[in-house]
Symmetry: none
Subunit: 134 residues, 4 copies
DNA sequence: GTGGTCTAGACCACA
DNA sequence: GTGGTCTAGACCACT
């Protein structure tokens, strides 16, 4: 994979049935992929229209996601040219930091497991299977 | 803990800032605690008014949660006496079934871990610490 | 003026002909009025629909402004009840701090005056007239 | 400074982050400097390519600014030789007229100062410091 | 070509 | 009643 390449449209995996809004799914997915190093600083994002037609959603929905990512500092808008992945957030890639981003979801799992009175070993086993399957 | 006791208001742990609606947090938490056996059939639920003032939320929100739990068959309304935990759902607590209830949250963790390019061992280790701390 | 009152719709003065987008005009105006102490913490904002029909703009435009102000921490959304002015930004009211918010506009005036080779006294005199007229 | 000199690239001070488009910043800045007498009729403008590389902007952006200035009559295109500052607009520099060009920016400052509830004396003092520093 | 803004109108979730 | 989301489609500005 070369740097500064154009990203394919299928960087987004949208679930339209979810209660989580589409634009928010896009924001969270892109954030994780940038921080995870799967998307590099300087990469050109696919255009709003391309993503919209590729996913079958309204361009405004995509635009909203891009705008939020821009105000977050993860994307940079180049007027008339499109958006690219920002530089300054790419150094935030140490595995330890990324693991911390997963903590809220794990805390949620912890609370639910406690309320369900589940054994630690059973929960860890199920998660191991899911992780190794992916 | 004895059976048919009065339940305290703090069976609910509400996060008002969350995007998950309050009534839904209450429904899911109570469901898990009933299925996990931490709340028993016949236990008396605290009144709508007590829960509302205790948590600082709108009484209509609590009422909506109770209504959903009632139409789910988890609570039973006793006219003029308040609500109690229903009988028929308490037997549904085989560990295997309860574990399945946790699967959606674990699947979500799996997707996020993949996008963050995290190592399986690191994720499992963090979850183990959370589970053993609780 | 009492605290926690409902704000009238005419807190916004929109210029539709301007190149500055409507939602941005609203954001900046409200920010200044909050920091200037003309709008108090806890005040209820007029509803999206009321503002929209009052100004003759689309509700989504108003909603966009409100959303930006919320992510800025100046407004707080209360689900199903509307938005109120946040608490924490009201202490930032010292005159000195507010004056700093005006600096960018004054710097712009300074650059333009320099390029037009205008005399300091003339510029100050014109600004004085404008300020005393308001 | 002698007449009919070559102008350096740094007659333009561009802010790429601004919401004001680059070509518009260039147009307004050059207009003010011509009317203010800092740029004289007959002076040679730097080439599109020099300005573009000097400022790090797209050559088409510089070209658009030059074209607008030409259709405004402020610049004259000399085939194969580049552009020079036109004659006819240089006489338009009575101080009173130039001051009027600053009025819109001052009106804007007035509105913002009012919304920030600032004292006239404080605003004038800050502007004085900026003007005397320049 | 790019993204930004706005409209009109629909539907949903929350209190 | 409140705000949020999404669509379809138009128009604009920048490069």
């Amino acid at each position: 994979m070369t740097k500064n390449a154009d990203l394919s449209v299928d960087i987004f995996q949208i679930t339209t049935g979810s209660s989580e809004p589409i634009y928010r799914q896009m924001v969270e997915q892109l954030r994780r992929q940038i921080l995870g190093g799967q998307i590099h600083a300087g990469d050109a994002m696919p255009s709003v229209r391309d993503v919209a037609s590729g996913l079958g959603v309204n361009p405004m929905t995509v635009s909203k996601a891009y705008s939020l990512l821009e105000s977050d500092g993860l994307l940079v808008r180049r007027r008339g040219l499109g958006m690219i992945v920002a530089q300054r957030h790419t150094q935030f890639n140490e595995a330890e930091s990324r693991l911390e981003l997963l903590r809220p979801s794990l805390e949620r799992v912890g609370l639910e497991a406690q309320q369900l009175k589940l054994a630690t070993a059973d929960v860890l086993q199920m998660l191991r299977e899911i992780l190794e399957r992916a």
